[in-house]
Amino acid sequence: MGEKNLVEKGVSMAVDLGGVRMQNPVNTASGTFAFGSVFEDFFDVSRLGAITLKGCSAEPWSGNPAPRMCEVPSGMMNTVGLANPGVVGMVEQYGEYLAGLEGRGCRVIVQAAGHSVEEYVAAVELIEELCPWASGVEMNISCPNIARGGVLVGGTPESAAEVVRAVRPRVHRPLLVKMAPVRVPEIARACEAEGADALSLINTINGMSIDVRTRRSRLSKPTGGVSGPAIHAIAVRMVWEAAQAVKIPINGMGGIATWRDAAEMILAGATSVTVGTANFYDPTCAADIVDGLASWAAEQGVTDINELIGAFEC
């Protein structure tokens, strides 16, 4: 159990993401993989190193009105608004499947969503109680804080530290922090100082798309999160900056659609590589990236994928 795929093509692929022991570095991004089960139609999900669940709050959230997405060059924008069934609803619907997936060797990371410190605490307390099977908890601190006029919860080192400080004592397993793509080195250091075990970055980058005939937003809100290949180069740079700033491992994401994109992230300093938007249009790509990375590592002449983490040469 849990040890298959450790060696592929003569390369040991296992990585340790702050205590989340993954059989290979490939993970899926929250909000792009639902709760995993729907992808079993496309491939054996247990081939992945980990999956990260859609963010769940203590109470169910209905999310934003339609339209929630639009296409932009080399990517898309969304304003889903963290629609989710709540931790209790998620466990009722998917708990058995997810416990089974852990047993099949793929780590499950539960993401906690909130709009305030109190909501994050409520979400992680429920996760601790109801998700004994989960290997890790990821805090999504790139949400607008409703109580503070919609500013990002994790938009400053001080506010990021406040959330991590509040939840850290309540999370008795590896704690990942999903950062907003702003002030990366400072916020990364603040999260590390408060006891985060790993950092996930980047989240979507706030963008805007206007229909020039109607003069209206192409989404139901004025702005939305840009994702996909369009943001990949920015994400690689931010992962590299974070990796320079902290000692804890980095879960790198942003526009990864191929093994080459994933390999770039590893060289920039990511311990794990997380596939997001590409799951929507190429639903087998995460599994394909496992194979591609192993071939790349073998071609690079290493016997352990860990030798390539941060191996970027200036």
Binding site: T32, S62, G63, P67, R68, M69, V80
Partner: protein
């Protein structure tokens, strides 16, 4: 989810205009053709432009399991469908599907009416095939902006439609006006057990209202902007009358008209 959901390879058999702004593409994809049921849809990758990463969700008009082909009549509305219209016979790509749920058969239904507006005619033709195959008598209303943009009336007649009422916005074919004008007359005269409709949302809202007034069940096929088509992205929400949202791809695209917040 849908039985047989997968990424299916396809080869273009033919792709030609059938009306102003409407094209018909026939894909050879035997497994997909066998898995599809009327009312479901597919999510197609159009190759050739790396800057357009998302697939195009499209309803189909005919899935022929014996021939191994899927026929899709689509409107050319943006860059993606324009590039699709340029795919030639022999070219290959992939389609994710089957996506969504089929048109439900209504237990005990003997007589139905199908109402199509614009390119909404595509899943309505698939619906008519389902009705014809199960021996349910049906009438049809087909609406378009102009005579030149009409497609499907001969297909519906060929499938055994009792009456095919045509409406155009400008009166260049059939009755000048909207599909709801023609449906109101048919509902007054007919004894339908169920109405199936697909078209612009404002039209379907009108069809739903007429059916509610007449006490006839109504099934609507909704359209939303979406990414994946299989329940992962959470972007294709449809507002329900009870204040909740449902997913167009996972819970729909076919809904009971009474469920939907018009």
């Amino acid at each position: 989810m849908s039985a047989g959901l997968d990424v299916h390879g396809f080869t273009v058999v033919s792709n030609e205009p059938v009306a102003d702004g409407l094209m018909r593409i026939v894909l050879r994809a035997p497994e997909l053709a066998a898995a599809l049921a009327p009312g479901q849809f597919v999510n197609i990758h159009v190759p050739g432009d790396a800057s357009q990463v998302l697939r195009i969700p499209l309803s189909f008009s005919c899935a022929d399991a014996e021939a191994g082909t899927v026929e899709i009549v689509y409107a050319v509305v943006g860059d993606g469908t324009r590039r699709l219209s340029e795919m030639a016979a022999g070219e290959t790509s992939t389609a994710v599907g089957p996506c969504g749920n089929p048109w439900p058969s209504v237990a005990g239904a003997r007589r139905a009416c199908v109402v199509a507006g614009g390119v909404g005619v595509t899943p309505i033709v698939a619906c008519a095939r389902m009705l014809a195959a199960s021996g349910v008598a049906f009438d049809a209303v087909v609406g378009a902006q102009t005579a030149g943009r009409l497609w499907g009336t001969d297909v519906l007649e060929g499938l055994g439609a009792g009456a095919v009422a045509v409406t155009t916005d400008d009166g260049t074919a059939g009755r000048r006006g909207f599909t709801t004008d023609a449906l109101a007359d048919l509902l007054a005269a007919g004894d339908y057990d169920v109405v199936y409709t697909c078209g612009p949302e404002v039209m379907m809202a009108g069809v739903a209202r007429l059916c509610r007034e007449a006490g006839v069940a109504c099934r609507v096929s909704m359209e939303r902007m979406m990414c994946c088509g299989f329940g992962a992205c959470g972007t294709c929400n449809v507002a329900m009358a009870d204040g909740t949202y449902k997913s167009c791809c996972k819970d729909g695209p076919v809904f009971d008209a009474e469920e939907v917040a018009w």
